[in-house]
């Protein structure tokens, strides 16, 4: 019986795995193929073309949206990671009485629907009469990224071997020296992971940005949504293909960067 059952399991596993992969990657594959399709609407293969890529680079609105996205992602990553580090370090002290409460406050936004966050931030900005635009989007992105960065860095710190800190103090190092030479380098993998996470979260956020950007400040997801609503899908295919390429590049680079940063410390 045993061999048959394992065989069956293996077969089932393989099938499920294949199905998941198909559903996950076929749409992306189709998207990539059709970005080279010489047709205004999706009607089947009409011949190879690069003209939509050309259009992409000539379109000022797209370029503006791209740079907006990068700016927001870059700044919000920088700020939310820095704040995440400080939060995690603050939460290190187990005797700090408000610890549980602060942890709960940090975890809550992760479970809150984006739409709730978006609407509440929009209400806040409206109520405080802050003009919506780049600034409000940035604030919004930092707000939802902090939870992620703080949690990622904090969970790395949980496993930190404090005897290393004692060993360094024993060898004559003062607290600040210990932080920069021992603790920070060992936190680095967590910090990089947190930064990457907040960067990708920021790049593809639509809902919260939608509620906090107002007119006149578009990020790529907002632009894409608007364009599709108007029915032109062709440049979107090529734009998406480029973004996929960019993501892959990022994944490859991260491994390198991490090594370089760690060895430099």
């Amino acid at each position: 019986m045993q061999p048959l059952r394992t065989k069956l399991f293996k077969g089932m596993n393989l099938t499920v795995f294949s199905l998941v992969m198909v559903f996950l990657y076929i749409p992306i594959l189709i998207l990539i193929i059709f970005s080279f399709n010489d047709a205004r609407i999706v009607t089947g293969w009409q011949g190879f073309t690069l003209k939509y890529y050309k259009q992409l680079f000539q379109n000022r609105t797209i370029q503006e949206a791209f740079w907006n996205t990068m700016l927001i992602a870059g700044l919000s990553t920088l700020i939310s990671t820095a704040l995440g580090i400080l939060t995690a370090l603050g939460l290190e002290n187990k005797r700090f009485t408000g610890r549980k409460g602060v942890l709960a406050l940090i975890y809550t936004p992760l479970m809150m629907p984006d739409i709730l966050m978006g609407v509440s931030l929009a209400l806040l900005f409206n109520f405080t009469r802050v003009n919506t635009g780049m600034f409000t989007v940035l604030i919004a992105h930092i707000t939802f990224c902090i939870s992620y960065t703080a949690i990622v860095i904090q969970s790395r710190l949980e496993g930190f071997d404090y005897s290393l800190v004692e060993a360094a103090a024993d060898l004559g190092a003062r607290p600040s020296y210990i932080f920069w030479k021992i603790k920070f380098p060992l936190m680095m993998p967590g910090i990089i992971a947190a930064a990457l996470l907040s960067f990708t979260l920021s790049i593809d956020d639509f809902i919260i940005t939608f509620f906090t950007s107002g007119r006149g400040f578009d990020t790529l997801p907002i632009y894409v949504e608007g364009t599709i609503r108007r029915g032109t899908i062709t440049t979107i295919n090529s734009l998406s293909t480029l973004m996929i390429g960019f993501t892959l590049l990022l994944v490859v680079l991260t491994k390198r960067v991490r090594k370089i940063i760690i060895s430099a410390m």
């Binding site: 103090a169 024993d170 060898l171 060992l186």
Partner: protein, 392 residues
């Protein structure tokens, strides 16, 4: 010259007293050990000397300076941690150089001293490796180099060999002694392993429940244990209870019950002056007792007791006999010399004579409450039953 002076040092964790009124002077250049069972407060005491814990009471002096509340990084004391605590993101060279970099020593000097240290611990060819690429014994060596490069006055070692296997442990023990001889500074060594402490130390302190039970050179503690705890924690022993029948200048005469209504007489040396009629407790090390089927020639300074062999345990280097005398049980270690008093070794259930020199029976401090502890420490010969019955 005194290097470390502990004065009435105590440490409380909440309502729990981990270290209790320790008074001790450790001399400069000495290899001093704290020996005691797990949880007796050795690590806590060491951490107070290193500066990671502040004593709840008492003071600690390093030479002429009081360091009781001084921050760890200011003390001329370095530690070998129980799990080595090498910095995982630095190679071995950088690990060893850490202390000098902190002090901003010139690069060239750092290089020379790191190499000198790596040579001392025989790791000079592995400087570029990372801690996760070397074995436990090698980590140990690097931890020693990393500490000694700072030229501390005192090196603290917290069970440094506990994580190594037996062969490596014996090897590292000798190496540690060589390193101690080479650098000549004070080593304070913490262990729960009595043979380690005995072989490595100039002096040692036996600890129990946060207190120092006895301190002195290893042979002194072994030959003249002050209490049931020292007697059992270092080596094995036999406890004999007896009534003092005569007190002489350098020995006592005692009358000892065997638990079955019979008595035997022995002589013993003593530590404080007991009076005639007083009941005292004696310790007699198993290897001091000779065993024979024939009664040996009577001699003034030899004690004799007749018993019956209950158990024989062959242990390679020696044989352990359990010999019944009434309801008492004597543990006897007999080495496998080819020259016996008899032609051959005694057998199960045979009648034998036990005999030993007067001066090998040693009076120890004793409270009724210690008996429970003795039972924990010695399951083999059923001390407790023996002591209870022996009392009657």
């Amino acid at each position: 010259m005194a290097d470390i002076i502990l004065q009435n040092v105590s440490k409380d964790f909440g309502s729990f007293r981990a270290v209790d009124g320790v008074n001790l002077t450790i001399n400069s250049g000495e290899l001093f050990s704290f020996l005691g069972p797990s949880g007796c407060g050795k690590t806590t005491l060491l951490r107070m000397i290193a500066g990671f814990e502040i004593p709840s009471d008492g003071s600690i002096m390093l030479g002429q300076t009081e360091i009781t509340d001084q921050a760890p990084y200011k003390r001329e004391v370095n530690t070998i941690f129980q799990n080595y605590s090498l910095f995982p993101h630095m190679n071995l060279y950088d690990n060893v150089a850490f202390g000098l970099r902190v002090k901003k020593v010139a690069k060239a000097e750092i290089r020379d001293r790191v190499h000198e240290m790596l040579k001392l611990v025989k790791m000079e060819d592995q400087a570029q490796k990372f801690p996760n690429q070397i074995s436990g014994g090698q980590k140990q060596r690097i931890a020693i180099a990393r500490a000694l490069i700072n030229k501390p006055r005192v090196l603290l070692l917290d069970e440094p060999l506990a994580a190594l296997d037996l062969k490596l442990r014996q090897h590292m023990l000798i190496e540690l002694m060589n390193i101690h001889d080479a650098v000549g500074i004070t080593f304070i060594y913490v262990t729960h392993d009595q043979s380690e402490a005995m072989s490595i130390s100039d002096r040692l302190a036996v600890m129990n429940k946060g207190r120092i039970v006895q301190s002195g050179p290893p042979d002194d503690i072994y030959e003249r244990p002050a209490s049931i705890f020292s007697a059992y924690f270092i080596g094995d022993t036999n406890m004999i209870r007896g009534e003092v029948t005569a007190v002489h200048e350098d020995y006592l005469e005692l009358n000892c019950p065997d638990g079955e209504g019979n008595y035997f007489d022995i002589d013993s040396c003593f530590q404080d002056a007991p009076e005639v009629g007083e009941h005292i407790m004696l310790s007699l090390r198993p290897e001091k007792i000779a065993i024979s089927r024939k009664k040996p020639k009577e001699q003034d300074d030899i004690n004799f007791v007749k018993g019956q062999i209950e158990d024989i345990l062959y242990l390679g280097t020696h044989t352990q006999y359990i010999v019944r005398v009434g309801q008492l049980k004597f543990r006897v270690f007999s080495q496998h010399k080819r020259v016996y008093f008899d032609d051959e070794a005694p057998d199960w259930e045979e009648e034998v004579w036990l005999f030993w020199h007067d001066s090998d029976t040693w009076q120890i401090d004793f409270k009724e409450s210690d008996i429970l502890e003795a039972e924990e420490l010695d399951e083999v010969s059923g001390m407790r039953r023996y002591l209870k019955r022996g009392k009657s």
